[in-house]
Amino acid sequence: MAENKPKPKPKIQKESVPIPKQKPEERRRNFNEVALGYTEEQALAEANRCLQCPKPQCIQGCPVEIEIPAFIKLIREGKFEEAVKKVKEKNSLPAICGRVCPQEEQCQKFCIVGKVGDPVSIGRLERFLADWERSIDVKALRDAPATGKKVAIIGAGPAGLTAAADLARLGHKVVIFEALHLPGGVLVYGIPEFRLPKSIVRAEVDYIVKLGVELKLGYLIGRTFTIPELLKYKGFDAVFIGTGAGLPQFMGVPGENLGGIYSANEFLIRVNLMKSYAFPAYDTPIRIGKHVVVIGGGNVAMDSARSALRLGAEQVCIVYRRSRDELPARKEEIENAEEEGIICKFLAAPTRFIGDEKGWVKAMECICMELGPPDESGRRRPVPVKGSEFVMDTDTVIVAIGRTPNPIIQSTTAGLEVTKWGTIVTDENGKTSLEGVYAGGDIVTGEATVISAMGAGKKAAKAIHEYLMKK
């Protein structure tokens, strides 16, 4: 443990070691990863910036409470294998979290070095370790004898994968049922290749399979089997629901069904899951025009905009109804998008889409907004300015205004308590209103983050283990 070793106070290096990236003018037309990752020297230099605080603040910012100073210390000592082990005690998917965690809001926000300069780049170090580990052969080990208990995990997103890994390590027989034909949830169908290469998701999934987890793809639970059937007839002792928030929302304005108007989910599923950027080598098509408009301001909007650019759009414009200060996307991703040439139009919202004679969108009418008093989310509410309508030309629109929970489980599981927003009600350990049924991730919280979904998967795994051992 870090706290029982006194150490000399190093001089604080104020700037973090920058992460090498593809140049904006190159990367805006390819799907290769944007950030390239630290080399060994860079990782050592960055690790040396950590003060090894006796009372580390960073840990409280991490939803899965990784022992951050401890793993950084191991990096400094060049003990990468042990460092990975340290991280994996708490986080079975470090290559992914190191890339997509909103670290500036989480661990790094609390890092003490951040008070005098850049915080220690915890996420990049985590990524370095995970990438290093992938370059050698990993042996996955179960650390407990078989219990004879069987758990069904529904959904192979971060919540389900994490719960599966933990339960398998505790000696339970785990089967994951995933509705799509590939595992990973948003990690494969939503987040694009240039931010999270799919080979990494595959490697992390392989690791989980090595732990003995069985993966059943193409099983839509609620249709192929229901949860009561899994518990009653299929021999499962407990179920974890990690089905995520994947139902797209539309705006309900006229013309929304015109050709060329995609929900962000449709667009991203086509591009990422079905690899339509490689059409016709892959069979699923996508059509991108010259002037693409993306509506919304979150990570999903940024990912859609940057993907559209890479698919060959001449101009990509993000239309957001609030101002820059309220943009919910990660700062780093907004900067990346702007560097690549994406334009943002703030304080505007669509009121109608105008189609051509073939039923394809050709323009969008918007209305200007101003910010009123804060709403229930604490952000200032956008209010339309009367008479401020304007028209902009566009041939492709991507609607990225939010996603709600997948509804099939809720409507096919009698007695499962659900909120009016469609999320599943659980206690703090993920237990639902039904015995032996647990849930976590976006299906419980609504749209959140990869690491919070993993945190929920971890907590539920612990609770399921306790339940099974008592049963």
Binding site: F250, E256, G259, P280
Partner: protein, 279 residues
């Protein structure tokens, strides 16, 4: 992996498959569909389930070879495997004793209609069935339908067999009283029949086939307007009230990717993918 047990030609470019998929078969009810993907680079395509055997663990579907995926599928041999089949998807049909039911099946959808007819007859309905196709060579299951229907009518677009077109239905509707009408077929046909039954106030159920990707409510490409509200074909349907569907909107959305689909199919044929070797 799902083993193909039967690959049979029912009519030119129309094939019936029977596939071993015990977990899908176990839960299937009439009106539901599957999504299949042939292999890694494939597209996810929806097909209506046209038969199932809980004991044998098999499902049947019938498809038209219209584009790359369905042509590729048609070339697969008995004993080969389809990579993924997800299902049963969508809501099952409402099957109960309605009284007298008019079932209209057109084109390839005659096959799943046969399943409906059987189920409706078994629950005590009097079933009048219409099978329609473009030309007489594309008709199938006429005799099978007769076993489960009180009366079977045949219609073709060119009049090469039975009635020419569906106009005769108007007279039928004047002469006989139906309590329900079920239509499965091309969108234009479902639209025409729905328009005919509307003045008679006969509840009419249509099976919509919008473009789909995931088939589980995640992408919204399958959106259709029903009674002025946006519905997702895959999770809210596939069956809807024929008198409330915006068919013209659906037709437009079905054609969205036509140029890409043609390109994909053409390239595949040019590269010798199909049995005709590029002719």
């Amino acid at each position: 992996m799902y083993k193909i047990l039967t690959n049979k030609e029912l009519a030119p470019k129309i094939r019936l498959f029977e596939v071993y998929a015990p977990e899908v078969a176990e839960k299937t009810l009439p009106g539901q569909f599957i999504i299949l993907i042939i292999g890694e680079t494939g597209e996810r395509i929806p097909l209506t389930i046209a038969g199932y055997d809980h004991k044998k663990g098999t499902i049947k579907f019938v498809f038209n070879e219209v584009g790359k995926t369905t042509k590729q599928l048609g070339l697969m041999k008995e004993g080969e495997y389809i990579e993924t089949i997800t299902g049963p998807l969508g809501n099952p049909s409402e099957i109960k004793n309605f009284g007298k039911v008019l079932c209209v099946g057109g084109g390839v959808m005659i096959a799943p209609m046969f399943l409906q007819v059987q189920a409706l007859q078994k629950t005590g309905n009097k079933v009048t069935t219409v099978v329609g196709a473009r030309i007489k060579d594309l008709l199938f299951f006429e005799d099978e339908m007769k076993v489960y229907s009180d009366k079977v009518y045949v219609a073709t677009d060119d009049g090469s067999k039975g009635y020419k077109g569906l106009d005769f239905l108007k007279d039928l509707l004047f002469k006989e009283k139906f309590d329900r009408c079920v239509v499965m077929g091309p969108v234009v046909m479902m639209k025409a029949v729905s328009e005919m039954t509307k003045p008679f106030g006969i509840p009419t159920v249509v099976t919509l086939t919008p473009i789909m990707v995931d088939g589980m409510g995640m992408c919204g490409v399958c959106r259709v307007m029903v009674a002025g509200k946006m519905k997702f074909g895959c999770v809210d349907g596939p069956e809807f009230d024929g008198h409330a569907v915006d068919f013209d909107g659906l037709i437009k959305r079905q054609r969205l990717f036509l140029p890409e689909e043609r390109l994909s199919s053409l390239l595949w044929e040019k590269l010798g993918g199909c049995s005709c070797g590029g002719k």
